[in-house]
Each structure stands twice: as C-alpha cells, then as structure tokens.
C-alpha cells in the first residue's frame, strides 16, 4: 500500500504526459500539387503631394500593374475594390482591409519631385497575410525616367515574390515587316521596351535586316544584312548607332532563314556563327577584337544556328549530319558533338536557356510547326509549348521563364507575322504589342 502511495503521483504524471504527447502527434499532410493561380496583389496609385507627382504616381502604378499582370504570375486586384485609401506609405496599412479583398500582397509607393526636378520614388511591398514588409526601396532619377522606374519596381516585386530575377526593365529588338511601294518586302530592325512602349527603328528601308541578337551587355546587337545575294553579319552599337560589317557569311540559304544568325559568347568578346566557306555551312568562332574566324566544325553536312550555353562552355546547333535536321551539343571548341534530339520531324533554331537547363527549339512535322523545350543534356522527353500554322525564332527572357517567338497566321492576303510570348509551362500566351507585322525577336538582358 505504501508502495502504491509512493508511485501514484509519478505514474499519474506519466500517464498525463504520455496522453498529452499522444494528443500532440501531428497529422502529416503532403502537399504535392499547389495552386498555379496567379497571386493577387493590390497596387494602389503611388501617392504624390501635387498633381504632377500624383499623375506620375498613377502612371507608375499602371505600368507596374500591367507588367505583373502580363507575367501571368500575378493578378492585380481591381482598384474599385480597395477599402483603405493609402495616404502615407510610412504608416502600416490596415491589413484586414486588404485581406478582405483577397489581396495576398500590397504594393504602396509615393512620388516626390524636389525643386531641382529630381524625382524620388519609394515603395513598400507588404505581405497582407503575415503583415510583414517584404521589400522597401527608393529610387532617385529624373521625372521623365518614370517608366524605367516602374519597370525596376516591377522587377523588385517580381524577384521578391518569385525568387527569380524579373525581366521588365528590358528591351526587345525585332524585325518590322512591311512592303515597299512596289510590293517588295521591307525588313527593318526596330526596338521597343518589353511592354511595347518607346518603339523606334534602328535601320532604314534600303536593305533587308534580319536575325538580331543582343550582346550580354545589351549595348550591341548582331544582325544579318542581305544584299546582292549574299549575307553579311553586322555589329550595331545601340549607344552610338554605329554599324560595322563583321564578315561575309556566304550566299544566303533560301532554305535556312535562321542559319546565319550570329550569337554572342557570354563573355561578350566572341561570336559563334554559321558561315559557308567551301561546300557547306560550318560553325565558326569569331573574335571581335582580332576580327578572325576560327572553324569549329568540318562535317560535310550543314551545321547551322549555333547558340552558347550560359557558361560559354558548350554550343547547341542544328545539323543535318544525321539525315534530317536534329539538335546537337558540342564543346565550345568544337569537340565531342552529341545529338540530343531523336524525335520525328525537323528540329531547328535551338536557343540555350539563360538558366542553362533547357534548350528551346522549333520543330516541323507533318506540316505542323511546334515550339518546344528539351533538357540540355537530352535527357527526359521534350515538351511542346505551342503548336501552330508557322512558328519560328524562339528567344528567351533573361530569367529563362518566358519565350518569345515568331508566329505566322494564314490570312486572305497571305501569311501575317507577329511576335508572341508564352511561359515555360505553356501558359499565358500573349501577343506583343508591336506596330505592324513583326518577327525575329531578341530579348535584351536586364538593362544596367
């Protein structure tokens, strides 16, 4: 009896503790899907003290909202639904007012312009659920730079909420397509912001310019000029407008519109190109300082459309060395070519993703054109992102999440060309707002 009295209390405590521990055993839940719905974000107009500041603030908010919306990852909340009127970005918002309209994130900002006409744009990004500030930055610039500030804020928000760099403060160079007075085709290089703003022409109507590609610094582009039945690769300095011919790429291959495209090495000092020197097209490395070509491939079949890996160690290209055109990867010095595609159809226009893991391509099979991606090492299955009447010239966004491509649509007048974007999952197909017909897009890196 005495023993029981001694043991009663510890045993009871042990039972209670064991019961408590048992009750605390968590239910294990595995979440393996997740939602792909865009994240709702509220973007009130950036506030300003006077009309000019408020007007610029509203414009900045509009551009940010459009940027995030077109990314497909965010859903700006209708401003009509806003409850709280933001009057000071240094006061904590009433988060309940934003949660009730289902805003997961809240972006508030202000614009102020001083007597020297310097504009300060400050913003805070809040998580409406955890009520934590996720980002706070301010920029100083001149008021006429407000659109770039809007893109930079968009990039900051995008990066903070997705973990990857944005692509809004970028430009797109493309080929503006049209007809001359006698019906002759006119192809001019044009450039615009990624959202279609600030378009301008780079070349005139007197010659045909095609296949632009950006340098890693975004300050130069290469393109191919067709004159007298021959193709010449040019270098165009966007800062000075200066152009110079680099080398004669040989007769234009009527059947290989993309074959002569020159692409920069990530170091910005070299190009990899396809050029005809003897019987067929081979790949060459072009040194921009010494202006010399070094041959990389010598296969009798045509090797064309080279594109560097982001680390510059490898090159992907298309070649008919296996019969029909397929994709191959080789070392940057031309050694060890390995075929990476084996599917039916004709694989062309490979472009290495800035992330390094994927290669975008176009493919033609049974009269169908497709845009797809495949692992850079050829492993796994290719993924077709888009299929249509005509698809060509894929170009990656600088963060490797979005692809631009030329799309041809059949109309009564013939085929019309336009530039479209699509994300890596095959969603969010959108037409780029170019003036007139357009093709051959090239996406700049983030502008420094």
């Amino acid at each position: 009896m005495t023993v029981l009295r001694y043991l009663f209390t510890p045993i009871l405590a042990l039972i209670v503790m064991a019961g408590s521990a048992f009750a605390q055993t968590p239910l294990v839940v595995d979440v393996t899907e997740g939602t792909l719905d865009p994240t709702p974000i509220a973007i009130p107009d950036f506030i300003g003290e006077d009309n000019r500041e408020a007007e610029i603030g509203a414009d900045i908010s509009r551009v940010i909202s459009n940027n995030l919306d077109t990314s497909g990852l965010f859903a700006p909340v209708d401003p009509e639904a806003f409850i709280e009127d933001i009057s000071d970005i240094n006061l904590r918002p009433r988060f309940g007012d934003w949660r009730v309209i289902n805003a997961s994130a809240l972006l508030v900002g202000e614009v102020s312009i001083d007597e020297n006409d310097r504009m300060l744009v400050a913003f805070r990004l809040w998580d409406a659920n955890t009520e934590a500030q996720m980002q706070g930055l301010q920029f100083v610039t001149s008021p006429d730079n407000w659109r770039r500030i809007a893109h930079k804020v968009s990039d900051a928000v995008y990066e903070r909420l997705t973990g990857e760099t944005g692509y809004f403060d970028t430009r797109i160079v493309y080929v503006s397509e049209g007809d001359g007075p006698n019906g002759e085709p006119i192809r001019r290089l044009a450039v615009m912001d990624q959202d279609g703003a600030n378009p301008s022409f780079l070349t005139d109507r007197s010659y045909m310019a095609l296949l632009p590609n950006y340098s890693p610094s975004a300050q130069q582009i290469t393109y191919v000029s067709f004159r007298d039945g021959r193709a010449t690769s040019y270098l165009y300095d966007l800062e000075t407008g200066r152009q110079e011919a680099l080398f004669d790429s040989g007769p234009s291959l009527a059947s290989e519109g993309q074959s002569l495209s020159a692409r920069f090495h990530p170091n910005g000092r070299e190009l990899v190109v396809s050029a005809e020197r003897h019987s067929g097209h081979d790949l060459f490395r072009f040194d921009l300082r010494s202006r010399t070509l070094r041959q990389l491939t010598t296969h009798p079949a045509d090797d064309v459309e080279p594109s560097y890996a982001p680390d510059g160690d490898q090159v992907v290209f298309s070649s008919s060395r296996g019969g029909q055109s397929q994709l191959y990867v080789m070392n940057a010095d031309g050694t060890d070519p390995q075929r990476i595609t084996f599917g039916e159809g004709r694989y062309t226009t490979p472009v290495w993703s800035p992330r390094g893991d994927l290669i975008a391509f176009t493919k033609q099979r049974s009269g169908q054109f497709m845009l797809g991606v495949v692992a850079a090492d050829g492993s796994g299955e290719e993924r077709i992102l888009y299929e249509g009447y005509f698809v060509d010239t894929p170009a990656w966004s600088p963060n490797g999440r979005v692809l631009l491509f030329t799309r041809g649509d059949r109309t009564r007048e013939g085929t019309t060309y336009s530039i479209w974007s699509i994300d890596l999952a095959g969603f969010n197909l959108r037409r780029l707002p170019t003036q007139g017909e357009a093709s051959d897009p090239a996406w700049s890196p983030l502008i420094d």
């Binding site: 393996t32 998580d127 983030l446 502008i447």
Partner: protein
C-alpha cells in the same frame, strides 16, 4: 526495501522528465523561430540598376512586425519609423540609349534581297487553337476533390473520432483526414513549378489549429533558419509561399469530431514532385 523504492521512484521521475522534454522542447524552439518570420531583405541597388538610388530604407521596426503574427484582428495603423532623410543624390543620367531612328545604312549597295523564306512552307490549314487557357481545370479538380471529400466524410455513428483514435490505430480515418487537408491546402499554397527543374524546394510547416479550423498560432516553418537564410532564393520563396498559403487556407474544413487528430498538422510541401 527503501533503496528499491527509491530506485523505482527515480526511474519514473526520469522517464517523466524525458517525456515532458519531448513535449516541451518543440515549443521552446518555436519561440525562437517565430522571431524570424519576417526576413529582412536589403537589395543592393547598384547590382540591379543604373538609376541611382538612395540608401535602401530600413525595414520598419522589427518589434512592430514581430508582434503582429496574430492573423485575426486587423491591427490599428501605427505610425512607422519616419523615413530616413534621403541621401542627396544627383539625378541619374539618362543612360538609356536613344538610338537614332534612321541610321546611315552600311556601305554596301542598298539593294534589298528577296526575303529568305523557309523552304518547307507550312501546309495550308486552319490555325491550331491557341493553348491560351490553362489546361489544368482547377474548378473541375476541386469538384472531384469535393466529391472525394464527401465520400470520405465521417459516418455519423455515436462513437466520436477522438475516442476511436485513442483506442485504435484509426489509420483509415487518418488517411482520410490527410487527404482532406492535402486537397484543401493544394488550393492555397502556390506551386513552385515555376522554379528551375531538379531543385530541391521541399519545406515543412507546423500548423496548430483551433476546433473551428482557424490557426491558433501563426504557422511556423520547420528548419526555418536553413530555409530563410538559404542562398537559394527559390527555397526562401517556397518557404514564404507555404507560410502564406497556410494562412490563406483558413478556415480548414476538417471534421470537428476528429479535432484531436488534426489539431496539429505537419505539412510537407513538395510541389516540384509532380512537375
């Protein structure tokens, strides 16, 4: 005899201590991790832009942020720290190049060549329908999930789920609750399928719930320090998305009669698995 009794007593007390430690230590760790729910992020402007920026302004007082995790009541607006006086910085130069709209053509003769056309013209046909819409019909998926949830709903017998859980393994019910919770949370937690492939973005959460399906305390990331201090920004975002999703999932539509089983959830988020 007294020695034997003392030995047995000591044995029980030590066992009790160990058991209480098992219960108490997770709570002790939780306190320290809650303090880091909000990461402080300073962005180096010079790395991203050539538009001159003033100093990244400091985060608002951490005390304010840390004390706000209670998601229920909307806090009253509090005056934040006043903005630091912006650094006097001259206006950024207009460094965006304005290319001349009509540059002089290269020296070669300006005779346009015929447009190079792809040799294999696409066969005339109607354009394919655009894959503009999501192929994943979330509504349909939700309906399927809802149906399965109905099927899995507990029977209205007299025996409560709590009682059954305590007297037997209850594996069937546990599986149903797991499926119900997972299907619900799949609609709240944003997928990380947009991150690069072959990246390990698995995170785990502990969620404590009231019987009404609302959070009793803010959700916490397990191994939060490793995740939120990771150099991998995708992993940090995966952790934040899981936390955000756990809050947005309220209320959790789980059967109150089985509350004892779902009072604490350990949620393993691995949305890369099915990409």
């Amino acid at each position: 005899m007294r020695q034997a009794l003392g030995f047995i007593l000591s044995l029980f007390i030590h066992a009790g201590l160990i058991a209480s430690a098992l219960v108490a230590f997770p709570h002790a760790r939780r306190m320290s991790e809650e303090l880091t729910v909000v990461p402080v992020e300073l962005v180096t402007l010079s790395r991203e832009t050539n538009v001159r920026a003033a100093r990244p302004e400091p985060e608002p007082e951490p005390e304010e942020i840390v004390e706000t995790p209670a998601p229920e009541p909307a806090p009253e607006p509090e005056p934040a720290q006043p903005e630091p006086e912006p650094e006097v910085i001259p206006p950024a130069p207009q460094d965006e190049p304005e290319p001349e709209p009509e540059p002089a053509p290269p020296e070669l003769e300006p005779e346009p060549e015929p447009e190079p056309e792809p040799v294999q013209q696409p066969r005339p046909r109607e354009p394919e329908p655009e894959p503009e819409q999501d192929s994943l019909d979330l509504n349909a998926l939700s309906q399927l999930v809802d149906r399965s949830r109905d099927n899995a709903a507990p029977r209205g017998d007299a025996e409560t789920g709590e009682q059954r859980n305590r007297v037997g393994p209850g594996t069937d019910m546990t599986a149903s609750l797991q499926a119900m919770a997972a299907s619900h949370m799949n609609r709240c937690i944003r997928s990380n399928a947009d991150a690069p492939a072959n990246m390990d973005l698995r995170v785990s959460l502990e969620i404590r719930l009231e019987r009404n399906g609302r959070l009793s305390v803010p959700p916490r990331l397990i191994d939060e320090g490793r995740i939120m201090n990771s150099p991998n920004s995708y992993l940090r975002v995966a952790g934040e998305r899981a936390l955000r999703g756990a809050i947005e999932c309220q209320p959790y539509p789980l059967p109150p009669e089985h509350y004892a089983q779902w009072r604490v959830l350990r949620v393993n988020v691995d949305t890369q698995r099915n990409r």
